[in-house]
């Protein structure tokens, strides 16, 4: 139960990028989990070569990922969005990107599990009789911090408010004097930058292989849809629900069922309530 709550904080971190890109910008970036895994491998390489802390690496790499995201969005925009063909072919495009990232990683690093080392990974603290592993606690706290940061970005800064405007009303955006494509590029960059940090958290929690991204496609989209497409608070709530559901399922039925939970929830959420938990 506690593990599930902690897992939820981490899932929120993983899903923020999708919430932003898919929920608010309406861009079906199903390659997001691949970017997260890319973040994991960046953390792995830095940790192995320079002994750098994984989460610190994740933070340091956010500018790199931001630029990567901006470039991918520009390509997407020029090839699909501007021609008005985004839905179908855009989806296939991101599917291809996902595949390229995954296969590139397995070409470079093979299909063995990779992990990072840090002083806190093996330790745990005792809170009222419940042992809490730092391995889970730290990612959860960082995840919560990321959620808060993104919330502040969207509600307090000019660009953040412009992103909200893009999702709701193009006219309002023009009145603010902002260029929608530029705003979307920034938002997409931020979403991918979040993946860098989320990837670092992921490899702190558990070892990673290139194909780990597949497990997260369902989780991310389940959380985003359940959370109400772009609502940051909703994302957090949905992430915690999913985390708890998965760890309960795993305790009672065995770990092989836990993945099915997220996809099962996703299917039900899609079929019954496309507007999400806290949806309109």
């Amino acid at each position: 139960m506690v593990a599930g709550l902690l897992l939820g904080g981490f899932y929120a971190a993983v899903s923020l990028g999708v919430s932003l890109i898919f929920g608010l910008l309406d861009i079906a970036n199903i390659a997001q989990p691949a970017f997260v895994i890319l973040g994991s491998y960046a953390a792995y390489v830095m940790n192995r070569s320079f002994g750098l802390d994984a989460i610190l690496t994740g933070l340091l790499f956010t500018p790199v990922f931001y630029v990567l995201g901006a470039v991918v969005y520009r390509l997407y925009y020029e090839s699909f969005e501007r021609r008005g063909e985004e839905s179908l072919r855009g989806l296939v495009f991101f599917f291809g990107v996902l595949f390229i990232i995954e296969v590139s990683l397995s070409l470079k690093y093979g299909v063995d599990y990779r992990l990072v080392e840090a002083a806190y990974i093996g330790k745990s603290i005792d809170l009222g009789g419940v042992g809490i592993a730092f391995r889970l606690l730290v990612p959860c706290l960082v995840g919560l911090a990321m959620t808060l940061a993104l919330h502040l970005f969207l509600s307090r800064t000019f660009y953040g408010r412009a992103v909200m405007a893009v999702s709701q009303d193009r006219l309002a955006l023009r009145l603010m004097g902002a260029d929608p494509v530029r705003i979307k590029t920034i938002a997409f960059g931020v979403g991918i930058a979040a993946a860098s940090l989320a990837g670092a958290l992921l490899i702190t929690i558990a070892p990673v292989v290139p194909s780990t991204d597949r497990d997260y496609i369902g989780r991310m989209f389940a959380i985003t849809v359940l959370g109400g497409m772009g609502s940051i608070a909703g994302t957090l709530v949905a992430a915690v629900i999913l985390g708890v559901a998965e760890s309960l399922m795993s305790t009672f039925f065995g770990p092989s069922w836990s993945l099915a939970v997220s996809f099962g929830i996703l299917l039900v959420a899609l079929a019954v309530r496309p507007a999400g938990l806290l949806g309109r």
Partner: protein, 311 residues
């Protein structure tokens, strides 16, 4: 009438040529690789009926394929049913799943539909992993029946796959040229307008998802006998999902020729790459080629050819 006779003759000729090739007993690897390529012809064609004609992108191809394969495994385990029964049953079960997916389109369009199909694939895989009777996560050995009608069992399966691809392509071609195909194209362009112009969109979508499901299941049913060892990871391989959409995208989605061209080109390239380089490298190539085509040549090879001819 004359045209359909010609189609029939062409189809029969292809089947005949396939059987002849099977009887020639060239290098066994040719049949082994040829089976995979033909299997992709069926898969790509089936995917395209829903994805290309109706515009609903299915990421859950592995679910339908594996459902066909596991239906066969179940029947082999329980009754040792003959191959034609396996194929029919695999098609039937996958077709029912397709019908179910069709009802999803009532509420889910575009991206949401695609994500739901992906989710479906994972849920189904989890169920199979936890079903010991068909091998669970460890997999199951399947013993081929002794004495195929001709040649070795692999050449026989190769001939069966020739027949199945001819059937699949004929079905796709028939749909494309009939009023059903025109109605699907209308709903692909604009579902609301299509419904308002008298197109029974729900019925057509159910038809497309079901036919697509049947053909994918049919492609999967002989799979246990081909590999002789079935386990979830290979049956639910994501490669099927990528190839199923990459092949039509590369060939061209609006015509039955597109998926065939795509499957033959990409399938052959992959078979060669797997032997000469590595299987990861071949998947990498698929990814790059796929992205290159959607960005640079959205109409696929068929579209490129048409554009060149048009000028």
């Amino acid at each position: 009438m004359a045209r359909s006779t010609r189609t029939l003759l062409v189809g029969l000729a292809v089947v005949g040529a396939g059987i002849l090739l099977a009887a020639l007993r060239v290098n066994p690897y040719v049949y082994f690789a040829g089976y995979v390529i033909l299997q992709y012809v069926v898969i790509a064609t089936a995917w395209n009926i829903l994805g290309g004609y109706a515009g609903y992108v299915n990421f859950g191809t592995p679910a339908f394929f594996a459902l066909g394969a596991y239906t066969a495994v179940f029947l082999i385990q329980s009754t040792r049913a003959p191959l034609p029964v396996l194929i029919l049953a695999g098609g039937l079960v996958s077709g029912l799943l397709g019908l179910g997916i069709g009802y999803l389109t009532l509420r889910l369009r575009g991206v949401f539909f695609s994500i739901a199909t992906l989710a479906l694939s994972i849920v189904l895989q989890t169920m199979i992993i936890n079903w010991e009777y068909v091998g669970g996560s460890r997999g199951l050995s399947v013993i081929r029946p002794s004495g195929p009608p001709f040649g070795s069992y692999v050449t026989f399966l190769f001939a069966v796959m020739v027949l199945l691809s001819v059937v699949a392509v004929t079905v796709a071609r028939f749909i494309e040229r009939s009023w059903v195909g025109r109605g699907l194209a209308a709903l692909r362009d604009n579902e609301e307008a299509a419904e308002c112009m008298g197109v029974p969109t729900l019925r057509l979508k159910l038809f497309a998802t079901t036919v697509s499901g049947v053909l994918l299941g049919v492609a999967g049913a002989p799979f246990p006998y081909y590999v002789t060892f079935v386990e979830p990871t290979s049956a639910f391989n994501l490669d099927y999902a990528v190839n199923a959409l990459a092949m039509p995208m590369i060939g061209g989605t609006t015509s039955w020729v597109g998926p065939v061209i795509g499957a033959v080109l990409l399938g052959t390239a992959q078979q060669l790459a797997t032997v000469t380089i590595s299987s990861e490298m071949n998947l990498f190539i698929v990814g790059v080629v796929l992205v290159a085509f959607v960005v640079l040549a959205p109409e696929g090879i068929v579209g490129l050819v048409r554009r060149v001819r048009g000028r």
